[in-house]
Symmetry: C2
Subunit: 312 residues, 2 copies
C-alpha cells in the first residue's frame, strides 16, 4: 500500500503536513507513504522533526498550485506541481490513494482527468461527515460537486453513502433519508419529488423517507442525500456554527465534534481510487486523519465494494 | 386599525393566545383587536385573566382546523373555523391583518384564495428573521412557499426583503446577498447563475454578490435570497440548533436569539394585506410579538410601500 500525500498543499503546509506524517508514523509504516513536494525543503523539515528522510519515499515536485489559482489552467501549466505530480503517480498506479489540503478545484479537475469513474457512475460525488447530537455519525452527500443534480444521481449518492457508512463509519445497516421540506411523500421541489420513488424502490438501501432541516443533526437517518447546492450550504453553515461556538467560548462536547480536523478530508466517491480533499486550513491532526482515512479506504477496498454495488 | 387574531390556532391555544392578548393590551388599545374563536370559551378565559370581555370585539367561530388536517379540504368544509372566519373578515375589509399559529397550510391556502397578490408579484413569499452573530438581524427568503423558483422570483424576493428590512427591521440601507456555493459570479446551480445578473442590475436593491453557507449567520448581507427549498432547510436547521443548544444547557446570548418566540410569526410578503403565520408551539410571547408585528406592518403601511416598489 502506498498513500501519496501532497506535502505542499494547504495554508499551513509543509510544516503541518510534516507533523501529520510524524504522528502517522507512530502507528503505521513509513513504507506506506509517498511524500510529494519540494524534496530538499521536506528533507530539512523531516530532520528537524526527528524523522530520518532516507526512511521515506519522497517524490520531488518543484512547484505548488496556489489556493486561488485557476484549477484547469494551473494543472495544465504547472506540470511539476505537487498536485499534478500526485495525479501522475496515481494514474500510473505508483500510489494507491492521493490526498491534499491544497487547491480544491485542482483536486477535482485532476481527479476528473486522471482517474476513471467507477463503471455505471453518472457523476462522482463528495460527502461530509455530520456529527449527530446523540453521539452517532452520519454522512451527507453531495456537498458541492454537483450543484444541479438529476434524481438518478441522488439515488446513486444514497448507495455510495450507504457503502461508505458501512465500510468506513462502521454502521451495519445505515438508513437513508432524502433531505426535503416536509415529511410526506410528494413534498418538495421537482428534484425531491422525482427522487423519492427511486429511493423507495432501491432495495440496496434502507430508505426511511424524507428528512427535514431539523433532522440533519438528529439521528433520523445515517445517510442524507440532496443536491450539491443544498448540501454545500448545509456543510458551510454547520462549519460556521462550530466557528461561532468557539468564538463565543462555548465549551460543549457536541459542538466540538463539528471540528473538521477530526475527520481529515472528504473522499471523492464514485472514482476508481481514493482521492481525499482536505480543508485549506488543515493542521497536524487533519493531515494525520486524512492519512488514516486513506489507509482505511485502501485496506477495506472501498472503491471495489462500491463498484460491485453499482453493478449489482 | 383592526388586527384579527385566531385565538384557537396552535398547540397551546386558546390559553396562550389569551395571555398574549393580555400582554398586548398593556401597551395597545383593545379597539385594535378582533378576537376570533369560540366566543363563550374565550369570554370565560378572558375573565379568568382579568380582562373584561365586553371591552373586546369577539367574532365567534364554532370550529377549529386541526394542525394536521388537509388545508384545502378543511377550509372548504369547516367554513365556521377560526381560520376560515378570519379570512372572511380580511377579505371583507373588516380587519386589516390576520394572524394565526394554527395550520400553516390552511393559512397559505386561505391567503391564496382570499387575498389578492400585489400587482406585478410573480408569487408571494415567506421569510424568516436570521439573528446575526454581531447582534444585527437579517432576513432570509423564501423559506418554503416556493420550493422551485425562477430567477425573477428571487429578484422580487430581494426587493420585498429590502423593503421589509427597511420598514420593519429598521435597517436604512439593507444589503442583499445571493445564497450560493461560492463567492464568484458564475458559481452555483442554474438558478443562482441566472439570478446573479438580475440582482446585479436591480437598482432598487444594494446587491453585494454571492454569500455562502458560512456567511448566513454573519453580517455579510441583511437580505438573503434563495429558493424556498434551500431556505426551508436553512430555517429548520437554524431552529434545531437553538433546540440543541437548549438541550445541551448552553447559556449563550447569541444562541438565545434563535428563539422564534422573539419574532412571533412570519408575514406572507407580496399579498395586499398582512397575513402572519405563527409557529404551532407559540406561547404568550410569540402571540404578543405577532400582534405587535401586525400592528407595526399596518402602521407603516408596508404592503402599500411594497406595491409602490414593485411598480417602480
Amino acid at each position: 500500500m502506498k498513500i501519496g500525500i501532497d506535502m505542499m498543499g494547504g495554508d499551513f503546509a509543509p510544516l503541518e503536513a510534516v507533523k501529520g506524517v510524524k504522528a502517522y508514523l507512530k502507528t503505521s509504516s513509513a513504507s506506506s507513504l509517498c511524500l510529494i513536494g519540494d524534496k530538499s525543503m521536506l528533507e530539512k523539515l523531516l530532520l528537524e522533526h526527528g524523522i530520518d528522510p532516507t526512511t521515506l519515499f519522497i517524490q520531488h515536485a518543484a512547484s505548488v498550485i496556489g489556493m486561488h489559482e485557476h484549477p484547469t489552467k494551473a494543472l495544465k501549466e504547472k506540470t511539476d506541481s505537487s498536485i499534478a505530480v500526485g495525479f501522475g503517480l496515481l494514474a500510473a498506479n505508483k500510489i494507491d490513494a492521493f490526498l491534499s489540503a491544497g487547491n480544491t478545484g485542482a483536486m477535482l479537475v485532476g481527479t476528473h482527468f486522471s482517474i476513471k469513474p467507477l463503471e455505471g457512475v453518472i457523476r462522482p460525488t463528495i460527502s461530509t461527515i455530520i456529527p449527530k447530537v446523540d453521539g452517532k455519525t452520519g454522512i451527507l452527500l453531495d456537498v458541492g460537486l454537483n450543484a444541479d443534480c438529476k434524481p438518478e444521481q441522488l439515488n446513486q449518492s444514497a448507495l455510495m453513502g450507504t457503502i461508505y457508512a458501512q465500510q468506513i463509519l462502521g454502521i451495519e445497516n445505515p438508513t437513508t433519508g432524502l433531505i426535503n421540506v416536509g415529511e410526506e411523500e410528494g413534498k418538495g421541489n421537482q428534484l425531491a419529488q422525482a427522487t423519492y420513488p427511486l429511493l423507495k424502490e432501491n432495495s440496496s438501501i434502507q430508505f426511511i423517507g424524507n428528512i427535514e432541516g431539523r433532522d440533519i443533526l438528529q439521528s433520523k437517518a445515517d445517510v442524507m442525500v440532496c443536491d450539491g447546492f443544498t448540501g454545500n450550504i448545509i456543510l458551510k453553515m454547520a462549519e460556521s456554527i462550530y466557528d461561532i461556538a468557539k468564538q463565543q467560548q462555548i465549551q460543549n462536547a457536541y459542538f466540538d465534534r463539528f471540528n473538521f480536523e477530526d475527520y481529515g478530508g472528504t473522499p471523492i466517491l464514485g472514482v476508481a481510487k481514493p482521492v481525499l480533499i482536505g480543508h485549506g486550513i488543515s493542521g497536524e491532526k487533519a493531515f494525520l486523519n486524512m492519512l488514516l482515512l486513506a489507509k482505511k479506504m485502501i485496506e477495506k477496498d472501498v472503491m471495489n465494494t462500491l463498484q460491485k454495488a453499482l453493478q449489482a
